[in-house]
């Protein structure tokens, strides 16, 4: 080789450069999300199955599921509560209170999407947990049962608000996103019923859970919600059956003191049938266990505990029988000493005739207002007792109904025999009124009233009496979100009157 030739060096250089470039690995283009599992490698063990179900519970604490979009179209829209807060804060919530809302009101879009997002998570769990290769079979069945219970619970909320619904019980393919139509309410009821029956079969009783798992869906919770569904359907026979099954399970009893239900001491207590756990786990920002529920309803002013929405209405105040201690346990007034025994609520000139929902009050906790630690009490034993009473009365068993009614009144009465006399009438119509009244005051400000009015068919009459512009054949159902109508190009048909 001639040493003065430049070629060898030059070629060597080229050779090295080209080979280094070509040396890229085959997997160079295979990239996966960082710090995240992917769906194709998820649902591989029991732990992941459990996490997928925990994620469903988690969404119940979202803004959409428990803040304005929830309070707004349960309590505030009903005769139990006014918007509260300062006069102009949150116009769209005021529109709900005043019946001046239309389909673009954010509450509808948010409640709709919040519940369907929860349903999406439930669908993912229900579809994929059966495919987990190896896991404890009892756990597998229970987790699917929990997911079905939660899915049914969301559909029950939605069907009562909106009527016929797209029924989504699995993950949709991408060509199905726009093609869903509203199914008749009967089909929605059937879906709920089937999920709850499955849940009753697979879920344990409350006492069968370890203390660490309290708050998960139970047989009793599923029976209670199923009984409620039957009330909505006016199927009183089945409502009676499942309410009594829950009662006779012996899993539940009333707490001695009514007000304890809404204090930390009552969380997951004997009277709790279903509640969503929450906790203030971080010091200043909304922690991973928080809910906005307490903040939005908290006292506004001094002490400054929140935004002061959901003001118990004059109508509700007037509804209590004289001396009923439940009124004081439900409503915070100016000048009142809060249940922590120390704080006095001062007058806030910006909030007109202020009152606050005491059931949403929480004692001092870590972090700011938005770090709300109060569990969301969604189903109490007192509710089940009153469902039983209502169903029995409708089934012509007034005498049996009286016993359950009296359990509720007796606890409220406590040791004071001068108030809340025992109801003794066995006249069906009269007793119906008594039970309806009892439901109102016992469950006031717990987001049941609107649904009760709807299923009793007296919403129009009651709301108009309360001065609201309720239009018959329109306001029994809320409007579907305008965005939903727009996005489907009218595939979803709007409710009448909107």
């Amino acid at each position: 080789m001639r040493t003065n030739s430049l070629f060898p060096k030059k070629w060597l250089f080229l050779f090295i450069a080209v080979f280094m470039a070509a040396g890229c690995q085959k997997d160079f283009l295979e990239r996966k999300p960082k710090g995240q599992l992917t769906f194709d490698t998820f649902f591989e063990n029991g732990e992941q199955a459990q996490e997928s179900v925990n994620a469903i519970y988690s969404n119940f604490r979202s803004w959409e599921m428990c803040a304005f979009p929830w309070i707004g179209i349960t309590d505030i829209i009903s005769d139990d509560a006014d918007k509260g807060s300062t006069p102009n804060d949150a116009q769209y919530v005021l529109d709900l209170d005043n019946f001046t809302f239309d389909a673009t009101n954010q509450a509808f879009q948010q409640s709709w999407s919040g519940n369907y997002r929860t349903i999406f998570r439930a669908n993912v769990a229900i579809e994929n947990i059966p495919k987990v290769p190896e896991m404890d079979e009892k756990l597998r069945a229970r987790l699917i049962g929990e997911a079905k219970f939660l899915r049914a619970y969301c559909y029950l909320r939605l069907v009562q608000w909106y009527g016929p619904l797209p029924i989504i019980t699995r993950q949709l393919n991408d060509d199905e996103y726009l093609t869903q139509v509203r199914q008749p309410v009967e089909s929605v009821y059937d879906t709920i019923e089937q999920d709850l029956l499955d849940a009753i079969a697979d879920l344990p009783e409350k006492s069968e859970y370890t203390s660490k798992d309290l708050g998960r869906a139970t047989k009793g919770a599923a029976r209670g919600i199923l009984a409620k569904l039957y009330l909505v359907k006016h199927d009183f026979t089945n409502a009676e059956k499942f309410a009594l099954e829950a009662i006779n399970s012996g899993e539940y009893s009333l707490l001695d003191r009514y007000g304890d239900n809404f204090l930390p001491v009552g969380e997951n207590g004997k009277e709790s049938v279903f509640e969503i756990g929450a906790a203030a786990l971080q010091a200043s920002v909304a922690g991973p266990g928080a809910t906005p529920y307490n903040m939005i309803q908290g006292v506004r002013g001094v002490p400054n505990l929140g935004w002061g929405f959901n003001r118990p209405s004059d109508d509700l105040v007037a509804a209590y029988e004289p001396g009923d201690p439940r009124r004081q346990a439900t409503i915070i007034y100016v000048g009142e000493v809060l249940p922590d025994g120390a704080t006095i609520v001062e007058d806030n000139p910006d909030v007109l005739n202020e009152r606050y929902n005491q059931k949403a009050w929480v004692p001092a906790h870590a972090g700011l207002q938005d770090n709300g630690p109060g569990n969301l009490r969604l189903l109490r034993y007192a509710d089940i007792l009153l469902i039983a009473a209502e169903a029995l009365n409708e089934n012509g068993k007034a005498a049996d109904a009286l016993g359950y009614l009296e359990q509720v009144r007796k606890r409220a009465r406590g040791s004071n025999n001068f108030i809340l006399p025992e109801v003794t009438t066995t006249d069906q119509a009269e007793l119906r009124e008594k039970i309806r009244h009892e439901r109102r005051v016992e469950l006031a400000m717990e987001q049941h009233r609107w649904f009760d009015l709807l299923r009793w068919g007296i919403a129009g009459e009651v709301m108009r009496a309360a001065g609201k512009n309720f239009v018959d054949a329109k306001h029994e159902l809320l409007p579907l979100p305008q965005s939903e109508i727009d996005l489907t190009g009218g595939n979803l048909v709007q409710n009448q009157g909107y």
Partner: protein, 996 residues
């Protein structure tokens, strides 16, 4: 003469040196004059250098020179900006008169194209060029702003007025529903953010507008490509050292006309229906909150650079410091840039080099929402109340915070960003015609942010109960490695240039951060996480990556300099897509015909240049919001709480739908162009017609909420066409009085041709749950959509008889019943206009005369609408704009301005809030003066220029907001909505330019 005597020793020394230099070599004397070929005018300040020495001179005011050189066989080099340099061998002569030819007449301009350069006369694609002379004049913070109004068909809008912010650029309209930003190639390294490039370091910017030019960038070329080339060293004996500096002041272009306190109180009383304010008139003007938030702020820049080299080594080294305080209080930005560009010719076959920039920027960001706060705050409050505390405006239930308090408590933030950006390359020349280049580009960024918020309480909604320090860091490391082989050869009339290559690149971004609370104090030295309470700590971290490999090929062929052909091909494989959609092929071809080389045109003395071009090609776009759009990721942290222990139970699941069938977005582009040079090329005219047809557009499309997806899926969804014209006209006249005029005009028509199967329309930009943007076939992307105002309900009778939504009262807006069904509902909403301008235009003019230089740039656009979204958000009682004062009352039966309300039907999405976005703006004006070179040459200074310039000094706009150029996101569905972000400023600067 005082100054002279004070500095006498210095001047004497300089003089002595000068004498010594000239005396040693004085052997042969040459003199003469230098003129321009075009008009025979004398040229002043032409550099004349004896080749291979540092001996030189310049022409005087008559174009005359005289120089003494080493001997009769010396060679003189003549050079003059804008003219072709010439070398003349003296050959014993004592007088040499010379005519220099203007560079533009030579068709020798070289244009940077992807992976190489091309003679402008050989170009077959549509390429717009901005040279350093045009950029250097403008006192702008980044190159994106320097492009504004310079190239036809290129739309540049500031992304925000925040100091140091970049710009949104659209080349030939919005060709996608997705990210429509162009690709930047800075010295061969690809990036989407070129805002770090210091404009004074730039040699040229080329905008590749059509498929032929951009196709070599394949999958990233669809939105056009902007190639930025930084200055490289020049082979010259003596380094050129330059100092550039300016300093100026900026302020807001205009204020928004809002109600004063008396007017606000009057309207508030009316709104509440009670005398909340006893005597509104007594409140007077009150507080103009805009004055509390905005300020006059300084801006300054200084740059020192050295440029030089020899046959073996060349270098361009610069250091720059830029500082801009924001026009919003407590916002500022400063940046240090150090650039080192060097090249080494190691031997006759190997050259290596690098272009490297290091930037360090520091910024303070004004608290979010203070600009909006100034717009919304009722003027009846003073920033502080009588006790000196910040006033609490929630008194009215306005959820808004006091912006003065936000500025006070929430401004303790410090952000720092370091970026190392550049490339290293090696060129191997072999077998005479071949060059192999290996180019490694790198872009490494490291950012740090720190934010401390003390304990404070202004109101129940504006407070912080626990002090908190949040820190964050980001890391990005991108690299690209390109191997290209080039073959260049000329055989007879045939000229070939062939390019082939292979490239690989990777991008990686990571972020990490944490926070703690309860600090023992607020002194700067305590503000580190370790001082906080560890039980309050939180942290986060995440990363994304992506990769791309490509093959590229291009052939340029020219026959007789007349017939031109370019064919290119690029194959890309992207990690964003999964098989079988991973690979995309992007071919293009183009033809050119230099008619000016044909005999029948050469006979036309008027015409110096005439070229026809045609190009067609296919380009791609892989950009989508996510790096893993095809992968369904599991979200974690969805905790559930169970049990009396309130244990946190991990929750994780799929919460959103993904699309595994995603494929490349593709764009077919056609361009027909004509270039014309007349009157010795003093008049240059260029026109292009283009058609960009984009299909399989990737975008996140809103789907119904019943699907339950927390986030919209990314799909190949639509077809969009941008068709239009680009015109460029320039007149340049060089000489004693040189001047120029120029104009650009871009016309674009944007139309959606199809949406995905089964999909008729896309709604977006939801304002209070109601869409303001509607994309439908036959209309521009993201058109405004809503009700049309027909009038106002004047009385009960009208209210009861005319169509309405429900919920209206007398005095409220009456919307048009477009479908005529007697009620107002969603079906009565319609197309209201588009945010995309029909016409973008600019004018420039300038002259140089006896050392005075002047330049002025105007730009404008028309045909676009703006939705004043900030006016529609009323979560509390905010201040109103002045026009609301003319509201309907029984006494003032307005048909346009409804009664005073705060939300409700008057605030539905309608043309009430739609305004004309057309504007015409004096973008920039500069006047400078350079001292005569003959004075300067004696002190070895080749240029001393002072200048005064102004930016955005005058604007003709119809829009009521701060500026028709307001911060806009990059989401094409949601453009033209003004949410009240940081406005752009107008500014004045004075500066100095000194070249040694």
């Amino acid at each position: 003469m005082d100054t002279f005597y004070k500095h006498k020793p210095f001047f004497l020394l300089v003089w002595a040196c000068w004498l010594s230099v000239t005396s040693v070599y004085s052997q042969h004397r040459v003199e003469g004059t230098v003129t321009a070929t075009s008009d025979g005018q004398a040229l002043i300040g032409v550099n004349i250098l004896e080749k291979g020495t540092s001996n030189g001179t310049i022409t005087d005011i008559d174009g005359s020179y005289s120089i003494t050189v080493a001997g009769p066989n010396a060679v003189l080099e003549f050079s003059y900006t804008g003219f072709a340099p010439q070398e003349i061998a003296i050959g014993g002569r004592n007088r040499i008169d010379l005519a220099l030819e203007e560079a533009s007449t030579l068709l020798q301009q070289v244009v940077v194209v992807g992976y190489g350069t091309q003679k402008k006369s050989d170009l077959t694609g549509a390429v717009g060029t901005v040279k350093k002379e045009e950029i250097e004049r403008l006192p702008v913070a980044n190159v994106e702003q320097a492009l504004q109004g310079k190239v036809a068909g290129v739309y540049v809008a500031p992304s925000s007025g925040t100091p140091g912010a970049g710009a949104v650029i659209r080349i030939r309209g919005t060709g996608t529903l997705n990210n429509a930003n162009p690709l930047y190639v800075v010295d061969g390294m690809i990036t989407y953010d070129a805002s770090f490039v210091n404009p004074l370091d730039v040699e040229s910017i080329e905008v590749l507008k059509d498929a032929s030019a951009a196709a070599i960038y394949g999958s990233r070329g669809a939105n056009g490509v902007i190639i930025i080339t930084t200055k490289s060293g020049k082979n010259r004996e003596q380094a050129v050292i330059s100092l550039n500096s300016y300093y100026g002041t900026q302020k807001i272009t205009k204020k928004i006309d809002l109600l004063n306190a008396a007017q606000f109180a009057e309207l508030y009383n009316e709104f509440r229906g009670q005398q909340y304010f006893e005597d509104p008139a007594a409140l007077g003007e009150g507080t103009d909150w805009q004055d509390e938030v905005f300020r006059t702020a300084p801006i300054g820049n200084i740059q020192l650079s050295a440029n030089g080299g020899s046959e073996k080594v060349s270098y361009n080294i610069s250091g720059n410091y830029f500082k801009q305080d924001g026009i919003v209080k407590n916002s500022d930005f400063e940046r240090v840039t150090i650039r080192v560009n060097t090249e080494y010719k190691l031997n006759d076959w190997l050259t290596i080099g690098n272009n490297t920039a290091y930037t360090n920027s520091k910024s303070q960001i004004a608290p979010g929402g203070v600009v909006g706060g100034a717009y919304r705050m009722p003027p009846v409050f003073a920033p502080r109340d009588s006790t000196g505390d910040f006033s609490d405006p929630t008194f009215f239930g306005s959820a808004i915070g006091n912006p003065a308090a936000d500025l006070f408590y929430k401004s303790n933030n410090n952000n720092e960003f370091n970026r190392l950006f550049g490339n290293l390359y090696g060129d191997v020349h072999f077998l005479k015609y071949f060059t192999f280049r290996s180019n490694f580009g790198f872009d490494r960024g490291e950012g740090q942010s720190k934010y401390f918020e003390p304990v404070f309480e202004v109101s129940s909604s504006q407070l912080n109960k626990s002090d908190r320090l949040s820190v964050g860091s980001t890391l990005s490391r991108d690299w690209i490695w390109e191997q290209t082989l080039r073959f260049e050869h000329e055989i007879g009339p045939h000229r070939f240039s062939v390019l082939g290559g292979y490239t690989a690149e990777e991008r990686y971004d990571e972020e990490l951060g944490g926070s703690r609370e309860n600090f023992p104090g607020t002194a700067d030295e305590l503000l580190f996480l370790s001082a906080g309470n560890d039980t309050t700590q939180q942290n986060y971290g995440s990363a994304i990556d992506e990769a791309l490999t490509s093959y590229l090929f291009r052939i340029n062929y020219a026959l007789l300099d007349r017939y031109l052909l370019t064919v290119s091909w690029r194959t890309d494989k992207s990690s964003r897509f999964t098989e079988p959609n991973r690979t995309g092929n992007f071919p293009s071809f183009s033809l050119g015909w230099n008619l000016s080389q044909e005999g029948f045109v050469q006979n036309l003395t008027l015409v110096d240049r005439l070229k026809l071009r045609f190009s067609y090609g296919i380009l791609g776009n892989q950009a989508s919001g996510s790096a893993y759009p095809s992968t369904s990721a599991i979200s974690s942290g969805l905790y559930a709480i169970f049990g009396p222990g309130e244990d946190l139970n991990q929750g994780a699941t799929l919460i959103a739908v993904a699309n595994s069938n995603l494929k490349w977005e593709t764009s077919r582009q056609t361009d027909i162009g004509l270039e014309l040079g007349l009157f010795k090329n003093r008049l240059e005219f260029e026109v292009d017609w283009y058609n960009r047809y984009t299909y399989d557009i990737i975008a996140a499309v809103p789907i119904p909420d019943y699907v339950g997806s927390q986030g919209d899926p990314i799909v190949n969804t639509a077809e969009v066409r941008n068709r239009g014209w680009d015109f460029t006209l320039n007149w340049r006249n060089a000489g004693k009085f040189s001047y120029n005029f120029g104009a650009t005009l871009g016309l674009v028509n944007n139309e959606v041709l199809a949406l995905a199967d089964g999909k008729n329309e896309i709604f977006a930009a939801f304002l209070q749950g109601e869409p303001a943007s509607h994309t439908v076939v036959g209309q521009p992307i993201g058109s405004f959509y809503g009700f049309k105002v027909a009038g106002i309900f004047q009385n009960e009778e009208e209210l009861n008889s005319l169509p309405r939504l429900g919920g209206e009262d007398v005095g409220d807006l009456r919307y048009a019943d477009l479908d005529g069904n007697g009620i107002i509902d969603g079906d009565d909403r319609t197309y209201l206009g588009s945010a995309i301008p029909d016409v973008i235009y600019s004018f420039t003019a300038g002259f140089d005369w006896k050392g005075v230089d002047f330049a002025i740039d105007f730009l404008g656009q028309s045909g676009n609408k703006v939705y004043n979204a900030k006016e529609t958000f009323r979560f509390g009682v905010y201040n109103w704009e002045q026009h609301v004062y003319d509201r309907w009352t029984p006494e003032n039966p307005s048909q346009t301005e409804p009664r005073i309300t705060n939300g409700g039907t008057n605030y539905r999405v309608s043309d009430r809030f739609l305004e004309d976005g057309s504007f015409f703006r004096l973008r920039n004006v500069v006047i400078g003066y350079s001292l005569p070179v003959e004075w300067l040459s004696k002190v070895r200074i080749s240029k001393f220029r002072v200048f005064l310039s102004g930016t955005n000094l005058w604007t003709k706009q119809k829009y009521s907001g701060y500026s028709p150029e307001f911060p806009n996101g990059t989401n094409p569905f949601e453009v033209g909505l003004d949410f009240g972000g940081y406005p752009v400023a107008k500014s004045w600067q004075g500066g100095l330019e000194l070249v040694f």
